[in-house]
């Protein structure tokens, strides 16, 4: 047994209202730069729908993920090492910008600058790639809320699969159709095919928390990771020529804060916590002969932190005590392994994804009540699951490679939770926790206590129960200047104003300032500057470089010519930046 820890996420689709707040805050935090205009580390898809990029689930076209070869061993679907190197001069399966969408902006200046005339001035869309006016025909979210589904619905690869078995299950007629939302981030897989595809070795999985990252200094822009990822969650920055992806907001996680998408989720549907797993079993589990075995196989990889033997091994593997404690309290572990209500997204890609989903129960109670039955009676609910508006088969194609049994089991528990909790809650005794209908709980295979815990986790979803995130190292927590309770001055970093020293390599070579300080300046610059990119800073910050020309601060400023117009580079600087310029 080789115990490793991973920060994982579970999303409760029953609660997702498709507001896209997660997407927008993520974009604001991570991808509002040049070169990644088209990139959404977090996106919310309406299912059925094509997704983003279009039809990314069609692996016969895109060749993402792993497959079994004739001898039953795992191989990259997009081709092994030699084929990758032979094709390195042009990736044969790279989605082009049309498969995502061509990013654009509007000519807003025209609204105020247009000369007086009979016509009302309009803001024309302009492509951010060619700079020319163009017709917007697609975007990351073009088929939101089933927009155009009667035209494009057939293009959902999962719809095609369901129709192969039961064509009557998926209908797009207005009265008969169904939909739900599917928020997606990087899966931070246990067996990441993007990492395996990277010829440069720039992509890696962090040993401590399992986050999959791209080393921006080592990436050479071969683009094989984009093909390798079956979820198409690695993106190519076309300005810098480097791959970028969801970082699971590691600078936040390291100090115990939830990711931006989780923090801002209005539906409170995201859960973050530690999963302990046995790294020795991953390869074997990912090689399960049948696609439908993969869900159970992955469950078998996870370890139970309540088991003393597991805890002992975890300690021996160097996992910190607070991580083991967090694993015991992990909401993600509870939803995945204890209650088995969460399911992986597309286990058939064999990457062992680590962002799991609780399937949506669809408006079943309403539908049942309309037919004259008690919509919240457990028996009625269980019977209705097979005839839900969202077909079980469709959910099964998404979450269990087509096996409806685990999806039904999960939905039955969700239905039982409603039935078991309702009488007690309606009785309205506010003095203690609501009593649970033990019989209904048992019919779903849970004790009354467990049912109450599940109810608390899913329905009440308290902040500190949804997010149980151990910090990077509790022993050093006091020295983390971004921790909640810093005991030293946050400007006291090497070369900072509070420090004075310049390090062994002279003034210009000190360590970078902490991310919080940097972000503070970058954000303020962005909010106060007219130019889209960061231009007023003295320190070379390549993350904010849009790839045009040279980054601000790389060369000393040219002496200003008298009478030259004020460009963005000559905007007045905030006084604080002068300190940095000196060092």
């Amino acid at each position: 047994m080789r115990v490793m820890a991973q920060i994982a996420m579970v999303m409760n689709l029953d609660k997702c209202i498709g507001c896209h707040t997660c997407s927008v805050t993520c974009k604001q935090a991570w991808t509002n730069r040049g070169g990644v205009e088209y990139v959404w580390f977090n996106n919310v898809e309406t299912r059925p729908g094509q997704g983003y990029p279009r039809r990314y689930e069609d692996q016969e076209t895109w060749k993402g993920g792993w497959e079994l070869n004739k001898r039953g061993r795992l191989k990259l679907k997009g081709g092994g090492r030699f084929s990758k190197l032979a094709n390195i001069f042009s990736n044969p399966k790279l989605p082009t910008i049309d498969d995502y969408y061509e990013p654009w902006t509007y000519e807003y200046a025209n609204l105020v600058d247009a000369p007086l005339g009979d016509d009302i001035p309009v803001a024309q869309p302009r492509s951010l790639l060619s700079g020319k006016p163009f017709k917007i025909e697609w975007s990351a979210n073009w088929d939101d809320n089933l927009g155009g589904v009667s035209e494009h619905g057939e293009l959902d690869p999962m719809v095609a699969k369901v129709r192969e078995q039961a064509s009557e299950k998926v209908r797009f007629a207005f009265e008969q159709t169904f939909m739900f939302y599917l928020p997606r981030i990087c899966e931070h897989c246990l067996n990441p095919s993007c990492v395996a595809s990277c010829p440069s070795g720039a992509m890696y999985k962090r040993q401590e928390d399992g986050i999959v990252l791209v080393d921006q200094d080592q990436c050479r822009g071969w683009r094989m990771c984009v093909t390798g990822c079956p979820y198409k969650k690695v993106y190519f920055n076309h300005r810098t020529g480097k791959a970028e992806k969801c970082t699971l907001c590691y600078p936040r996680l390291e100090v115990g804060l939830p990711t931006v998408c989780s923090e801002t989720c209005v539906g409170r549907l995201r859960y973050l916590g530690v999963m302990l797993y046995d790294a020795d079993k991953v390869l074997q589990a990912a090689s399960a002969p049948d696609d439908t075995d993969l869900y159970e196989a992955q469950l078998g990889v996870f370890l139970d932190p309540e088991d003393p033997a597991v805890r002992r091994e975890a300690e021996r593997a160097g996992i910190a005590q607070d991580w083991i404690d967090a694993a015991r309290r992990s909401p993600v572990h509870a939803l995945i392994s204890r209650y088995k209500v969460a399911l992986p997204l597309h286990p058939e890609y064999r990457t062992m994804p680590m962002v799991w989903y609780i399937p949506p129960l669809s408006p079943v109670v309403e539908a049942l009540t309309e037919t004259g039955f008690d919509g919240e009676d457990a028996g009625n609910l269980f019977g209705a699951i097979d005839t839900l508006r969202i077909p079980l088969e469709y959910l099964a194609e998404l979450f269990t490679a087509g096996d409806t049994a685990p999806v039904r089991a999960s939905l039955e528990k969700l239905a039982a939770m409603r039935a078991a909790m309702r009488p007690g809650l309606l009785a309205g005794d506010p003095s203690g926790p609501a009593p649970v209908d033990e019989d209904v709980a048992r019919s779903a295979g849970l004790s009354g206590e467990e049912m109450y815990a599940l109810y608390r986790l899913l329905a009440l979803a308290k902040y500190d129960e949804r997010y149980v995130i151990p910090t990077a190292a509790v022993g050093d927590a006091r020295r983390l200047e971004e921790s909640v309770l810093p005991d030293e001055c946050s400007l006291d970093y090497a070369g900072g104003p509070g420090m004075g020293g310049s390090g062994p390599y002279g003034e210009g070579s000190g360590a970078s300032p902490p991310m919080s300080v940097e972000n503070f300046h970058v954000l303020r610059d962005r909010q106060t500057a007219d130019a889209p990119a960061d231009t007023g800073r003295s320190r070379v910050n390549l993350l904010n470089w849009d790839g045009r020309g040279h980054p601000a601060g790389l060369f000393p400023a040219k002496p200003e010519k008298p009478g030259a117009p004020d460009g963005p580079g000559t905007a007045p600087r905030p006084p604080e930046n002068d300190d940095e310029e000196e060092r």
Binding site: L76, R81, F82, K84, L85, N87, I88, F89, S90, N91, P92, L94, T96, I97, S127, L129, S130, G131, N191, P192, V195, A196, C198, S200, G201, M203, Y204, K205, R206, Q207, E208, D217, Q218, C219, R220, G221, W222, R223, F236, H238, R239, T240, G241, K242, E254, A472, D476, L480, E481, E482, S483, A494, M499, G501, G503, A511, S512, P514, L542, G549
Partner: protein, 242 residues
């Protein structure tokens, strides 16, 4: 041979080497982030799918031909029984074939770069300079070779090749370059400019050929740097005792 000539054939190769090696070290130390292929495949894939492999495989073959021609003395090839005229025809035909592939590839790539809006917009001045020098070097090489194709051709293996090898033994034998056809001389000068430009342009990506991919395990794990917790490094004098 004038003084300028002899200076050219002694100083130029060393300046080129210094610019190349120094440039790579500088780029590695200070601009790892900029070290990339800067691919434009995201904008346009159809033409690139054909043109890029044709060009790259072509120029790799041309490079191999240059290395063999310049660094394998003719005494070695005759020792294994390859006569001078066999060698000449072999190099003429295969070299021309590879050269034509290279030219066709780069022509298509430049056409694509010029006509596709987003690709052209992503072209920097640095790229344009690089394209001019690269194209000039390739074309001049083709011209030099093909204008001396008749008979046994021009035997650079008794003039240019020994000169270049003498550069690496630090006794530049510039007299060997006396009487080399002017087309070859121009090709060498442009070639030196191109080599000197490599570290300062996107051509740097040739030094990141990912050979190690064949030997590493598929899944790469990395640990957060020990001693660096969070986003800051240790303060000088307060480093953790290992």
């Amino acid at each position: 041979m004038s003084l300028a000539d002899s200076l050219l054939w002694t100083a130029m190769p060393y300046i080129t080497i210094v610019l190349l090696v120094g440039g790579i070290i500088w780029r590695y130390r200070y601009d790892k982030f900029g070290w990339t292929t800067r691919s434009s495949q995201l904008y346009e894939s159809r033409l690139l799918r054909i043109a890029s492999p044709v060009f790259h495989y072509g120029i790799l073959f041309v490079l191999a031909g240059h290395l063999v021609g310049l660094f394998v003395p003719d005494s070695w090839t005759s020792a294994i029984g390859v006569s001078e005229s066999t060698y000449h025809y072999l190099s003429l035909y295969t070299g021309t074939l590879a050269g034509l592939a290279t030219v066709a590839g780069i022509a298509l790539l430049i056409y694509r770069r010029r006509t596709n809006g987003p690709v052209f917009l992503a072209t920097t001045r640095n790229d344009k300079l690089m394209y001019v020098v690269l194209l000039a070097a390739i074309l001049m090489g083709m011209i030099a070779k093909l204008t001396h194709a008749g008979g046994h051709g021009y035997d650079y293996r008794t003039t240019i090749a020994p000169w270049l090898r003498s550069v690496f033994t630090l006794h530049p034998d510039y007299a060997r370059m006396d009487g080399v056809p002017v087309t070859y001389q121009i090709h060498i000068v442009i070639g030196c400019v191109l080599i000197a430009l490599v570290p300062y342009t996107r051509l740097i990506h040739m030094f990141s050929a990912p050979v190690q991919y064949l030997f590493r395990p598929y899944i790469v794990y990395r640990s957060r740097e020990r001693g660096q917790l969070g986003t800051r490094s240790e303060r000088p004098g307060w480093e953790r005792v290992p």
